[in-house]
Symmetry: C2
Subunit: 242 residues, 2 copies
DNA sequence: GTAGTTATTGACTGGCAGTCCATAACCTGA
DNA sequence: TCAGGTTATGGACTGCCAGTCAATAACTAC
């Protein structure tokens, strides 16, 4: 494995340093959570930070964030990973000039993996004191997720592999931060062909009630619903029911 | 002015170099154009490139792209500028490891400025041979513009200050690359309160025809149409007519 | 069996957007 | 001055989408 040359930061500005950061989100216990680790020492001791670290020689930004996330959460559990934005404010990091490219990662609700001792999931609506600009970057990630839930099939990356309508309702409510109608949600996602029935039904609950039909997402890569291309080409039909 | 330390690139990978690139788009002559300059020498001699250059000490990425665009087109003419994405493929630039953060800039159709001799507007559907990954970055910029035209008021950054319905139709047709109904376009943008009537009418054309009412965009900063938050909070009304 | 709980389905409503057409307002040339 | 051409405008029609609600179905526990 090649050793990474140390990059002296005595000269502020050059040589440039570049780090990657990941906003990894997950729905648990009816709330949206972000993966954070706690600084043990240094200028941000005690503050919580997004996982990430410096870009290494010979790797792309995407490879770097995947590599560095491996230390925190099994990358195979990531159902989606996309680039978010690059931050370049001069004073954003105390150790000199550091650019940061942030990624958005999503983990399905039924995935579990043991976390390192300094790492925990935090509710995004009750964030602890955060290092540097990481709170702002987290907000960007949450905003991106919420926007894309409405015009893509990105729910696949948050939902379990198989789910009932009300389980899916819980996931969407937690992710969006407001109530969602299970009836309407199911009808919309069915019409968009995002979810399909598995034909199975849920095991009867302990408190009674009719067993629920189970569903899964048709695709596990992101697809855009072109429903929302409002000024669409004349020949394109608007209907999604075909 | 501080001198920029030269960054040796003998070691591939470190020290890192970082450049900014701008996809500057404009509607002219019923077609969408991108601002390009022609390499005079070097490995890409003859190829056309996006304007940009290395990030300098002490400036943010946004400041850098604004500074470097000044050499090509008056920045005051830019009605909109937003970060697009950061490219990090290993071999994307021949002179070693160079990250590139791309921006999307938009120039209104009625703005004119003299361009340097090596710089020209090119139709995006007839691009010349392009340097490195600049064709791919241009495609990203065009895709971003087309998406945002349908769910934001971003038309303000392409349209003249005052325009008729059919002039606006021309701008949208050129930007989107397909036919648009003037009737429908006007009704949609009026309902969304993106455009308002000025009360004036266009000067009679030389070939006759009824004078057209004139409009302007209500705001000249980007605003998102929340029409397309399909899974919106229960209390939020759907109507845009209020 | 009855009450309680959860899921499912269908009906109703209002709004949005694509399309078409009749009408309005202007010009030119005879 | 008037007929015909040209461009603009607005109303009407349609299909579809999504939010809401109520009736019904299917199960458990007692």
């Amino acid at each position: 494995m090649p050793t990474v040359p140390t990059v002296p930061s005595r000269t502020p500005g050059y040589p440039l340093e570049h780090e990657v950061l990941a906003v990894v989100l997950r729905v648990d216990d009816d709330a949206l959570h972000v993966l954070l680790w706690q600084h043990g020492r240094g200028p941000a001791a005690g503050a919580w930070a997004l996982p990430g670290g410096p870009l290494a020689v010979g790797e792309t930004l995407g490879q770097s964030v995947a590599r560095q996330l491996t230390e925190k959460v099994d990358v195979r559990h990531l159902a989606h990973l996309e680039q978010l934005e690059t931050r370049s404010e001069i004073g954003r990091a105390p150790r000199g000039r550091v650019l940061a490219t942030a990624y958005l990662g999503l983990v399905p609700a039924d995935e579990t993996s043991l976390l390192p001792a300094d790492t925990r999931w935090h509710r995004v609506d009750e964030l602890p004191p955060m290092a540097f600009d990481h709170a702002s970057i987290t907000a960007s990630g949450v905003r991106r997720l919420r926007a894309k839930l409405s015009y893509t099939n990105l729910g696949f990356a948050l939902a379990p592999a198989v789910f009932t309508a009300s389980e899916l309702q819980s996931v969407y409510q937690a992710a969006l931060g407001h109530d969602v109608s299970a009836t309407n949600l199911k009808r919309i996602l069915l019409r968009r062909h995002q979810i399909v029935e598995t034909g199975t039904v849920s095991a009867p609950g302990r408190s009674g009630g009719r067993p629920a039909a189970e569903y899964r997402f048709r695709a596990r890569q992101i697809e855009v619903t072109d429903q929302f291309a409002v000024l669409r080409p004349p020949e394109a039909p608007r209907t999604l029911t075909g």
